[in-house]
């Protein structure tokens, strides 16, 4: 066999094994044994994400919080959180907002004109509680840290609420999307139950907010349960291509589908 032919066969094999490898790595659960069809996702357990550090029952220490605030936050938000051109005033913003931005690493923000994004959080639970205690001492108001019980929620109700309020920006599978103006609705795969609930209640820039009159506590439980379920949505068809949709499918159709076929065609036909 000529070298060209051997190379071509290897190329075909590689092109065709790519989906196999990708499928195997990404969706292990859908390659479950052939004995039965995969069981219906009737009652997934909630909150499979890594547990957030438990909240201290007594709240944080205001003085330690003041010191941390002066060190990390005052330069943009003002020494007593009164606000500056670089940071919003924080009196009355509420515990949930502070807890959310710190726990998800959105704050501190190195450039105040960049949008907030989830980053690895370097704060300890104690530091977060302390700063929360300090900021809430600046003034009353704002949503408290919500208490959620996803296991008490109903998956279908949560799906309905999600489809109505969240999917337009975050995508039907929680994969995230661009929302214009340079902003991104992030993917929801890393968010813990409390973080989801906090975001819903505070509406971090640029998200709208949904308080208890709009989505009550039980509905929030259901919504959080559904969001926690999103990373485990059944990709029964194989490799999910990041849930991007027809754009990714089109690339695969040309590059893998037609690509593999063209390599085969070159093996069968002559060069002239």
């Amino acid at each position: 066999m000529s070298r060209g032919r051997r190379f071509a066969i290897a190329a075909v094999g590689l092109a065709l094994s790519a989906p196999l490898l990708l499928a195997g790595s990404k969706t292990g659960h859908s390659l479950a044994g052939p004995a039965r069809q995969p069981p219906p996702h009737a009652a997934p357990r909630a909150a499979a994400a890594p547990p957030a550090p438990p909240r201290s029952a007594s709240g944080g220490d205001v003085r330690r919080g003041a010191d941390l605030f002066a060190l990390h936050c005052a330069s943009c938000h003002g020494s007593i959180g009164q606000g500056t051109p670089d940071g919003i005033p924080l009196a009355g913003i509420g515990a949930a907002a502070v807890d959310f931005v710190l726990a998800t690493g959105r704050m501190p923000l190195s450039d105040p004109h960049q949008p907030m994004m989830r980053r690895g959080s370097n704060w300890t639970r104690r530091q977060i509680d302390d700063i929360v205690a300090f900021v809430t001492s600046l003034g009353p108001g704002g949503p408290p840290i919500p208490v959620v019980h996803p296991e008490a929620g109903d998956l279908t109700t949560g799906g309905q609420i999600y489809a109505e309020n969240c999917a337009p920006c975050h995508g039907a599978s929680g994969q995230g999307a661009a929302v214009g103006g340079g902003a991104d609705a992030p993917d929801l795969y890393e968010a813990t139950a409390v973080e989801v609930a906090e975001a819903v209640r505070i509406g971090p820039d640029p998200m709208p907010r949904f308080d208890t009159r709009q989505i009550n506590a039980h509905e929030l439980d259901s919504l959080v349960r559904y969001v926690e379920f999103l990373p485990r949505l059944p990709d029964r068809g194989g490799f999910s291509l990041g849930h991007i949709g027809p754009v990714a499918e089109g690339f695969i159709a040309w590059i893998v589908g037609l690509g593999a076929i063209v390599v085969i065609v070159r093996l069968i036909g002559t060069p002239n």
Partner: protein, 459 residues
């Protein structure tokens, strides 16, 4: 036994004389000539899997409450069509893999047609006497896209339903007759319950009848006119050589068919496509991001996203903005594409019969226009996913849109001109190369110059 069969058929149909010349028919073996067959075999997969799917699909827009296997949607109102697709995907053995093979085959079918069409274009195979087949081929491309659109819209999921809404609005935007056209074609104000049934009738009946008819004509004409081939030393324009149909070419073609089936099966099993259960049922008051059609409709979507907010108002009437990128420009592009053989004939005044193919460099003008047109369509298709691109590259979607508005007009001109110049350069280079002299050694040990090859170079 074969002998008995042949005699039996010949007694009744006189088949032996046809068979005698058909079985020895020459088929040139160039690999690029097989792209049309790839499209054909993708179509075979579509028909086979499609028949299976029709046994399970309910083409009704009637509301039902889902009580099936997929838990997150239990108790949700949806159309009977959507519910039947959920059932097929979760509860019917081999249902999901058949659905996915069908959808991958559709994407690859249109891709193969486009690849084949570009092979025909850049080699000038559409020239006389093959203009009719070019027109038939164009209609096959349009029919394939129409089949694809109606096909993926039938499950009535949130993503495809949004696309149907856009199609309805584009039809609505047609001047004078738009509202009537939309109401009549879709069966009432959107969303009308009868629309899914109409898509089914179009998809499995009318469009397929037209495709089969056009395909039959297309193949019959190629058979009758015989295939083209590349100009090489030793070849003449009034012959064509290749493998005989039986058994060589038939075997190769069957092998190709099986390979196409295999690739589509592999994709259908391993790579998820159109997971409608994740999108949810169609609801005209909800939407999800990102929202794109299948790839071959992407250029239309790109036109809709890029075209500026221009609108014409005439004597108390409106020609709404979607009309220009949605109807007017596509019709112009399609007309230019379909009529290209005649445009080229008028410009080059070449009305000769051609059975030899051009290399791209042999027709710099055609190659330049073709490359420019191809880059235009590719950029439009990319523009259809401007929000996905924006997210991927971390730039605002407005910037992507504004940049593409310029790029989509400028880059095709540059590409077209560059290809044109490159083709001319390559040809000039070939002509400038000194005549190729072959030297042969004779029995006595001396060298003889052979101008056998020089003569062919000069042709």
């Amino acid at each position: 036994m074969i002998r008995r069969l042949v005699l039996w058929l010949d007694d009744r149909l006189g088949a032996a004389s046809f068979a005698k010349q058909a079985l020895r028919k020459a088929f040139p073996d160039h690999w690029a000539f097989m792209l049309g067959e790839v499209a054909l075999y993708s179509y075979v997969v579509l028909v086979l899997t499609g028949v299976f799917l029709t046994f399970f699909f309910t083409a009704s827009g009637q509301d039902v409450v889902y009580q099936g296997t997929y838990a997150p949607l239990r108790g949700v109102r949806m159309s009977a069509a959507y519910a039947s697709v959920l059932r097929l995907s979760f509860d019917v053995r081999a249902g999901l893999v058949m659905r996915q093979i069908h959808h991958w085959a559709a994407d690859v079918f249109v891709a193969a047609i486009v690849a084949h069409a570009f092979r025909v274009f850049f080699t000038g195979a559409f020239r006389r006497p093959r203009e009719i087949n070019w027109l038939i081929g164009t209609s096959l491309l349009v029919l394939a896209m129409a089949a694809g659109f109606t096909g993926y819209s039938m499950p009535d999921d949130l993503l495809s339903g949004t696309g149907v809404r856009i199609a309805y609005s584009v039809l609505l935007s047609v001047p004078v007759v738009g509202t009537w056209a939309a109401w009549l074609f879709f069966g009432g104000e959107f969303p009308a319950p009868v629309t899914i049934g109409r898509f089914l009738a179009l998809h499995i009946m009318l469009i397929q009848a037209l495709i089969l008819g056009a395909l039959g004509l297309h193949l019959a004409i190629v058979w009758h006119q015989k295939h083209t081939w590349f100009r090489l030393p030793g070849r003449t324009e009034d012959t064509v050589s290749g493998s005989p149909l039986w058994p060589n070419y038939a075997m190769k073609s069957v092998g190709l068919a099986l390979a196409v089936f295999a690739v589509l099966s592999l994709l259908g099993g391993l790579v998820q496509i159109n997971p409608v259960w994740l999108y949810g049922p169609y609801d005209p008051t909800t939407v999800s991001s990102p929202a794109q059609p299948d790839w071959y409709v992407g250029w239309l979507e790109g036109l809709l996203r890029l075209f500026p907010d221009w609108e014409i108002h005439l004597f108390g009437h409106t020609i709404p903005e979607p009309f220009y990128p949605g109807v007017l420009i596509p019709v112009i592009l399609l007309a230019a594409y379909a009529l290209w053989p005649f445009i080229e004939q008028a410009v080059t005044r070449d009305r000769e019969v051609h059975h030899f193919l051009d290399r791209a460099r042999d027709a710099p003008g055609r190659s330049g226009w073709g490359a420019g047109g191809l880059s235009f369509m590719v950029l439009l298709t990319l523009a259809g996913s401007n929000d996905v691109l924006a997210r991927f590259f971390g730039v605002p979607v407005e910037s992507v849109t504004n940049m593409l508005r310029v790029v989509v007009l400028v880059v095709p001109l540059i590409v077209g001109w560059a290809v044109y110049a490159a083709c001319r350069e390559l040809r000039a280079h070939e002509a400038a190369v000194p005549p190729f002299h072959a030297l042969r050694r004779d029995a006595a040990g001396g060298y003889i110059e052979s101008d056998h090859l020089t003569k062919e170079r000069a042709e």
